[in-house]
Every structure is written in structure tokens, then in C-alpha cells.
């Protein structure tokens, strides 16, 4: 007798990794924050009336933000791998393939996906979002400064807008090249299948998402009223919003350290066979120099904020002079990060343009060795210049001269990079594309940013100019005029490889000219009011500065329109752009040898490199 049994098809049980995504992360983050907030509200004792600092609310806020962070990272799946490893059972091959986003479609962009190409696109998205928000805040600042009396924004809200704009843009510019292009392009460019530590790659991205929430949270509990530098003891007196800043920086610093270790290891250990250092593209040098600078700099930034949190929440006195601390300690820690950070931003952007220069001049990079020396020279000197931000603070007057010397010396390796770019353009077979024009824009903008920087590096001139709009104009010329110009050119240049479509040529040109003209109008106006004595970070100003401020505001609006045109170009080109051939620029680096869509592991057979990437023949005679 036979028995018929109904056999149900049982779906295979989903592993925990498959259940986690950005929505579970958000849910767990919010729940954790609320639970810890309620518990700490109930259990933490009231501050004693005799306490020097009232810190209970800071404790509650920081604990809740920490809970958000842990909850979010758990919910996205960042802890699954380490936990399994601790249990002595690492992820299986199929789980690793799932993490890599194999055959997952668009869902992979919302998960803890380890594929470097997905991480690169995620970085591109968050960079655009950061620039949109930071740029939007810049428009609020400029609108408020359109008239001398200000008053559109409440003075405290204005301060917070300035501080938030600053820190958003700093983070945006730090990740704008190494994030999207360092992740998407760099491994293919060196002939690798992925990054050295794919899970760390995903971790570095999701840490930035986790960091964003405390910053936004901070806006609703008093804001960041100290400017982006968050100097102490000012930050110690500031509203609870500063706790959001502290958490944002701490989490972002971890992300940068993780990304730095990952990128450095990838380049050192995973370059294709035959890709000697002399054959390694200059963009790779730029990315590695950037993250190598960030590696020692960001732990210091992290530490500076941990001590700031201790002062606020635990009544310590690291920076509180009344308790034996020193504001100078904060200034030193901050700028030990802060000045290398300028080059963390600049070097990869300039290196990306140096990578494009041979492509659009159809000739080799002029003096590759000088380019490498220039990058190395800037990197080396950049860790020895931090105190030029503190000439007037009274910290160490005897050190002013040495720091002036190191700061002025840095113009020599910077000049080398100019030489390489100009030398490559010289007698090149110019292919007039938007990326090539960006090189011209960089030379112009960075020349102004660089020359004005020399005046600021000079102690007597800085005594007059420091704290003025001149400083604001100077660093916008370097970070935006040079850095952001390089990043936008990179976007247009590598867009075909990242999306399979060409960036709309017309829109790229319109955006370029609007941004460059608007930018120069805005910030040359700012130089003028700075020279005339207008201090920075003010909500209203004397009528004598009105005309130049109005010009700056008009320039800023032109930049906004240009950036929105660019944004439209990104979206419309990605959706409906002309399909790109495999190598639309006829470039010689490895990323142009792979088809779109790029296979999960990039290459069927890993390439062997026999020449450098700049074999375009000689210059025009």
C-alpha cells in the first residue's frame, strides 16, 4: 500500500543578512535611541546645584545618539560578519555573494553591499545630497547677507546655518572624489577584482549615513552655533545641538579611518601584475596620498571631539580654562586634522584632473615624476603647517616664523602640480571637453586661492586679514574653485563607466559656465569686503560693505542655478542619456577596458600591465 503524502515546498529560511537593509537599520536605530533616551531620562540623577556644569541633558543626548548609532549599524548588518567571526564561523560563500549584491538589482543600493561599484554609486548619491543640503544652506546665508541689516534668520539660527553649512561642505568635499571615484573607479583602474576589505568598504559608507542623523537631530536641539571649527570653550557653552556635531564627527572620523586603511591596502597589495609604481596612474597616487593623510589626521579629530563630549557631559576640563584646561589644546588638535584635511580634499581632485589632462591633450602626462614628487611634497609638508591657523591666538608666538616658513614652502610642491598641468596642456592636441575646460578653471581658481593663501600664511598680513571674509573667500577658491571643479570634471569624465551613458554635453557646458562665472563673481566680491575689513560669520554688517555683498549674493544664486542644471544633467543623463561606448574618451587606463555593465568581479582574467597609461605619442612640434 502506498501512502500519498502531500509535500509542501518549504522556502529556504532567509539568513539574517538577507533580512537587513536600510529600513531595518532606520527602525532599529530609532527604537534604540528612544529606548535609551527614556531609560536615561528615568535613571540619570539630576545635576547638583553646586556642579560647575549642568551636564545631565548632554549625557542623555549623547547616550541616545550612541544608541541610534549602534542600532543603525546593527540594523544594516554591519555587525553580522564580526559577530560570526567572533563565534568562530565566518560568512559562507553564498552569504558573501549576497553581500556583494550578486543578481540583486537596485535593492543592493539599500543594503550593506560590499561590491565596490555599488559603494561608489552610494557615495556619489550621498555626496550629491550633502552638496544639495550644504549648498542650500549657503543660499540661506547669502540671502540673509543680501542686505546689511540681515534679520531674515534669527541670529542664533544664522549661526547654526553657518556652522552646519561649513561642516557639511567639509565632509562633502572630503568624500567627493575618493568616495565615488576612489571606490568605483580605483579598483578597476589598478586591475583588482574589488577592494582589499569589501566589508570595510560597505562599513565606511554606512557610517556616513549613520553620522548624518545626529547632525540633523542637532538642528532641532539648538543647532551648531559655533561655526564648523567648534572651538572650545565656545562649544562647551553651546546648546545641545553641539552633541550632534560631536557624534557626527566621531562617526565620520571612523568612516574615514576605515576607508583610508582599505584604500591604502588595496593599492599597495592589489595592483595588477606589471603595474609598477612608475606605471600606476597619477589618480591612484592622489587617492592614496589623500587617505594616507587622513589616516593620522582623523584619529586626532576624533579625539578632539571625544574630549569635547567629556567636557560637556562629564564635567571634565580638557578645554575649560576655569578647571585647568586650555582652549589651545582644542585648537591644536583641531588644526592638526584641519590643515592636512585641506589637502585630503585637494590632492585627489587635482590628481583626477591630471589623469584627464593626457586624455584630452592626447599626449603623455608632463613629467610624471614631478607630479608624484609634488603630491608627496604637499602631503609631507601639510602635516607641518597647522599652527598658521593660530598665529593670532597667542599660543606660541615663537613658532609663528617656523610655521610661516613651512606654509610658504608648500607653494613649491603645489607649483609642481601646476607645472605638470600646464606642461601637459602645452602643445597638446586639445580636445575641448568640459573636463579639459575644468583644468583651465582649476588653474585660474587655484592660482587665486594659492596666491591669497600666501598672504594669509604671512604673519603680519594675517594679523590684519585673519577672521575676515578674505579668509572665507580664500578657502572657497581652493576647496570649491579647485577641489569641487575637479570633482565635477571627474563626474563627467567617469560618468559613462559608472552609468553606461554619456553625460549630456550641453548641460555639462551650461553648468560649467554658470558655476565658474557665478563662483568668481561671488568670491571675488567676498575678497573685496574682506580686504575692506568685514569680519566673517556675521549676521549683519555695516552699509559700506553692501554693494560687494550684494554682488556675492548674486554670484551665489548663479552658482545655485548652475549646480541645479548639473543635478538635472546627472539624473536625465543617467536615465535617458546616449549609451556610452566602452571607451568614449579613448583613454588608456584599465577601467576603460571593461564593458558596461561591469561584471561583479570586474575582469574575467586579471590584466597584466606592460606600459604606463599615458602612451599618447608626442606633443605637437
Amino acid at each position: 500500500m502506498t501512502t500519498l503524502t502531500q509535500q509542501k515546498e518549504v522556502a529556504p529560511k532567509k539568513s539574517i543578512i538577507e533580512k537587513l537593509n536600510v529600513f531595518t537599520a532606520l527602525a532599529l536605530g530609532v527604537i534604540s535611541a528612544i529606548v535609551v533616551w527614556r531609560i536615561s531620562l528615568a535613571l540619570l540623577p539630576q545635576d547638583s546645584e553646586s556642579a560647575r556644569l549642568f551636564s545631565r541633558e548632554d549625557k542623555i543626548t549623547l547616550l541616545s545618539m550612541c544608541a541610534w548609532f549602534v542600532g543603525f549599524m546593527t540594523g544594516i548588518g554591519a555587525l553580522v560578519g564580526p559577530f560570526r567571526w567572533l563565534m568562530g564561523k565566518d560568512l559562507s560563500h553564498s552569504e558573501n555573494m549576497f553581500l556583494a549584491g550578486e543578481n540583486m538589482g537596485p535593492k543592493r543600493y539599500f543594503r550593506y553591499t560590499t561590491d565596490h561599484k555599488v559603494v561608489g554609486i552610494q557615495y556619489l548619491f550621498i555626496t550629491i545630497l550633502i552638496f544639495f543640503l550644504g549648498g542650500g544652506l549657503a543660499m540661506l546665508i547669502r540671502t540673509n547677507l543680501g542686505t546689511p541689516e540681515g534679520g531674515w534668520l534669527h541670529a542664533q539660527a544664522y549661526n547654526s546655518v553657518v556652522g552646519t553649512h561649513g561642516i557639511l561642505m567639509i565632509v562633502g568635499t572630503i568624500i567627493m572624489v575618493t568616495g565615488p571615484f576612489g571606490n568605483f573607479i580605483m579598483p578597476i583602474m589598478i586591475g583588482a577584482r574589488d577592494m582589499a576589505f569589501p566589508r570595510l568598504n560597505a562599513l565606511s559608507f554606512w557610517l556616513i549615513v549613520a553620522a548624518a542623523v545626529p547632525l540633523i537631530w542637532g538642528q532641532f536641539i539648538g543647532g551648531i552655533t559655533t561655526g564648523w571649527s567648534a572651538y572650545n570653550p565656545l562649544a562647551g557653552q553651546a546648546p545641545l545641538g553641539m552633541d550632534g556635531y560631536i557624534m557626527y564627527i566621531c562617526i565620520f572620523a571612523i568612516s574615514t579611518m576605515v576607508a583610508g586603511a582599505n584604500i591604502t591596502t588595496t593599492v599597495v597589495k592589489m595592483r595588477a601584475k606589471g603595474m609598477t609604481w612608475n606605471r600606476t596612474p597619477i589618480f591612484i597616487y592622489g587617492v592614496v596620498a589623500s587617505v594616507a593623510l587622513a589616516l593620522p589626521a582623523f584619529p586626532v579629530f576624533f579625539l578632539s571631539q571625544v574630549l569635547s563630549a567629556f567636557d560637556r557631559a562629564l564635567d571634565t576640563s580638557f578645554y575649560n580654562t576655569a578647571g585647568g584646561g586650555s582652549g589651545w589644546l582644542y585648537e591644536n588638535l583641531f588644526w592638526i586634522m584641519g590643515h592636512p584635511e585641506v589637502y585630503v580634499i585637494l590632492i585627489p581632485a587635482i590628481a583626477a584632473l591630471m589623469e584627464m589632462a593626457p586624455v584630452f591633450t592626447r599626449r603623455p602626462l608632463f613629467s610624471f615624476n614631478v607630479a608624484v614628487l609634488g603630491i608627496a611634497g604637499i602631503s609631507g609638508l601639510s602635516v607641518l603647517v597647522w599652527a598658521h591657523h593660530m598665529y593670532i591666538s597667542g599660543w606660541a608666538p615663537l613658532l609663528n616664523a617656523p610655521f610661516m616658513l613651512t606654509t610658504e614652502l608648500i607653494s613649491i610642491p603645489t607649483g609642481m602640480l601646476f607645472l605638470v598641468l600646464v606642461g601637459t596642456l602645452w602643445r597638446g592636441r586639445i580636445w575641448m571637453t568640459m573636463p579639459l575646460m575644468s583644468i583651465m578653471a582649476l588653474l585660474w581658481n587655484f592660482m587665486i586661492g594659492g596666491v591669497t593663501g600666501i598672504y594669509l600664511s604671512d604673519v603680519p598680513a594675517d594679523a590684519f586679514l585673519h577672521g575676515s571674509m578674505y579668509v572665507t573667500a580664500h578657502f572657497h577658491f581652493t576647496l570649491m574653485g579647485a577641489g569641487l571643479t575637479g570633482a565635477i570634471a571627474s563626474l563627467v569624465y567617469w560618468f559613462p563607466k559608472m552609468t553606461g551613458r554619456m553625460f549630456d554635453k550641453t548641460l555639462s557646458w551650461i553648468a560649467f559656465w554658470l558655476v565658474q562665472i557665478g563662483f568668481n563673481v561671488a568670491f571675488i566680491g567676498m575678497f573685496l569686503v574682506g580686504l575692506a575689513g568685514q569680519p566673517r560669520r556675521v549676521e549683519s554688517y555695516a552699509p559700506t560693505f553692501n554693494t560687494a555683498n550684494l554682488v556675492t549674493t548674486i554670484g551665489a544664486y548663479i552658482v545655485m542655478i548652475g549646480m541645479l542644471v548639473l543635478l538635472h544633467g546627472v539624473v536625465s543623463s543617467a536615465l535617458n542619456g546616449v549609451k556610452a561606448p566602452k571607451n568614449p574618451w579613448q583613454a588608456k587606463t584599465l577601467e576603460w577596458t571593461v564593458d558596461y555593465p561591469i561584471p561583479l568581479e570586474n575582469f574575467d582574467v586579471l590584466p597584466t600591465v606592460t606600459t604606463d597609461a599615458y602612451g599618447y605619442g608626442k606633443a605637437k612640434s
Partner: protein, 228 residues
């Protein structure tokens, strides 16, 4: 018009609209959005002739259980605060009489300048009914100080110290039954928007006492609008 051009224009308008929306939200974020309008009180003879007269009555509390922060004290029940609100609106070219009832204690000012009455008619005020032009810098509870750059609007500066309630008169709970009442009168110019704040460092507990209530909107600072 070309569809493509329209799409670009649409993005620019949409983007600018989002930014304008954020700006409108931030501009409205004054924490205490309510406004106390001065009450018309006929006319008054002043050195500048007979002018319309209006009055404002406000208080200073040692915590936030009164004022604009709700019965439970809002986000910071322990913060010292002005009340019932912190934004005021008065008529232009008028005489304004303000009555400030101070329920809070105090200590020394950082800057003695603010211990003197400034910007009122004849530079005086009354404290509990007695005329005064200044109080001891060591007995100041708070100040009501309106100032702002005279840019595109009339210059306007009024600063009046509020005497601190004596320590022995400060109860363990609730508010003192012996508050100090300061009355002062000043003349407004043309329309303009000014910021007022307290110049006594009363952000207790934070470094230099300029944090907490002193650095959070809606407690010891606000808007002072002169309306035409």
C-alpha cells in the same frame, strides 16, 4: 518651448523651491514664535511732544515652569526665562512703558556698563516705585537690553537692569512673593526689527554662564519689532 529646456527649468525651479522651503522653515524657527503686542494706552506728553502711548508687561522667572514653555517647562524646565513670551511688537514713534517683574535672584554683572539705565526717557526707571538710574552691579538679576546695528532702520538702544531678589526671599519651591518690579519708559523711532537679550550671565552651570538659557532661543533673548 523645447521639452528638454522645460525639464531643466523645472529642476532649477524645484531645487530653488526646496531651498526656499528650508529657508522659510529656518527663518520661522524662532523657538518662541508667539508675539506679545504692546497695549495702546492713549497718549503721553514727552520731551519730544505728545506721542501715542503703549504698555508692555513681562516677567523674569528662575525656571521655565512659567512663561512660554508650557506647564511642564518644555524642553528645559530648569532654564531661567522671560515670559509670557520673548518676542515683542511695539508701535513706531510712540512712548512705550515696560513693566518687568523679576522673580529671580542674581549675582555680579561681568560688565558694570549694564548696571546703569540707558536709553529711557531721562535715563531713569522706577524700581518698586522708587526712581533710579542704576543699581549695584553686584545685585543684578537680569537686564533687558535691546540693541542692533542701525542699518536701514533707526538706531535703537535701551538697556535696563533688573534688581535681583534677595537670597533670603527666594523660596525653596515656587516663586517669591517679593518680586522686584522695574518700570521704564522709552520712545521708539521708525519701524525696524531688533534683537533683545539679557546681559547678565544667567546660563547657570555652563562655562562662563553664557550657555544654556543664554544661548538657546526663546529664553533670555528674542525679537523686538517696532512696527510702523
Amino acid at each position: 518651448m523645447n521639452k528638454r529646456v522645460l525639464a531643466v527649468l523645472g529642476t532649477v525651479i524645484l531645487g530653488a523651491g526646496v531651498i526656499a522651503g528650508i529657508g522659510t522653515y529656518v527663518a520661522a524657527a524662532k523657538n518662541d514664535s508667539r508675539v506679545l503686542e504692546a497695549t495702546p494706552a492713549g497718549t503721553m506728553v514727552t520731551p519730544q511732544g505728545t506721542l501715542p502711548h503703549a504698555t508692555l508687561a513681562i516677567s523674569v522667572y528662575p525656571d521655565s515652569m512659567a512663561g512660554s514653555h508650557g506647564d511642564n517647562g518644555g524642553a528645559h524646565p530648569g532654564y531661567v526665562t522671560y515670559g509670557p513670551v520673548t518676542n515683542f511688537e511695539v508701535p513706531a514713534h510712540s512712548v512705550i512703558t515696560m513693566t518687568v517683574t523679576n522673580y529671580d535672584g542674581g549675582e555680579s554683572l561681568n560688565n558694570d556698563y549694564f548696571a546703569r539705565v540707558r536709553g529711557t526717557i531721562d535715563g531713569s526707571a522706577t524700581l518698586n516705585g522708587q526712581r533710579m538710574t542704576q543699581i549695584s552691579p553686584d545685585a543684578v538679576g537680569h537686564t533687558f537690553t535691546v540693541h542692533g546695528l542701525a542699518v536701514g532702520q533707526d538706531e535703537f538702544f535701551v538697556s535696563v537692569p533688573m534688581k535681583a531678589v534677595a537670597e533670603e526671599d527666594m523660596p525653596e519651591e515656587g516663586y517669591t512673593s517679593k518680586p522686584n518690579v522695574t518700570v521704564f519708559t522709552f520712545i521708539t523711532g521708525g519701524p525696524g526689527e531688533y534683537i533683545w537679550n539679557c546681559e547678565y550671565p544667567c546660563g547657570d552651570g555652563t562655562i562662563a554662564k553664557f550657555g544654556a538659557a543664554m544661548s538657546t532661543m526663546g529664553y533670555m533673548s528674542g525679537h523686538f519689532t517696532v512696527k510702523g
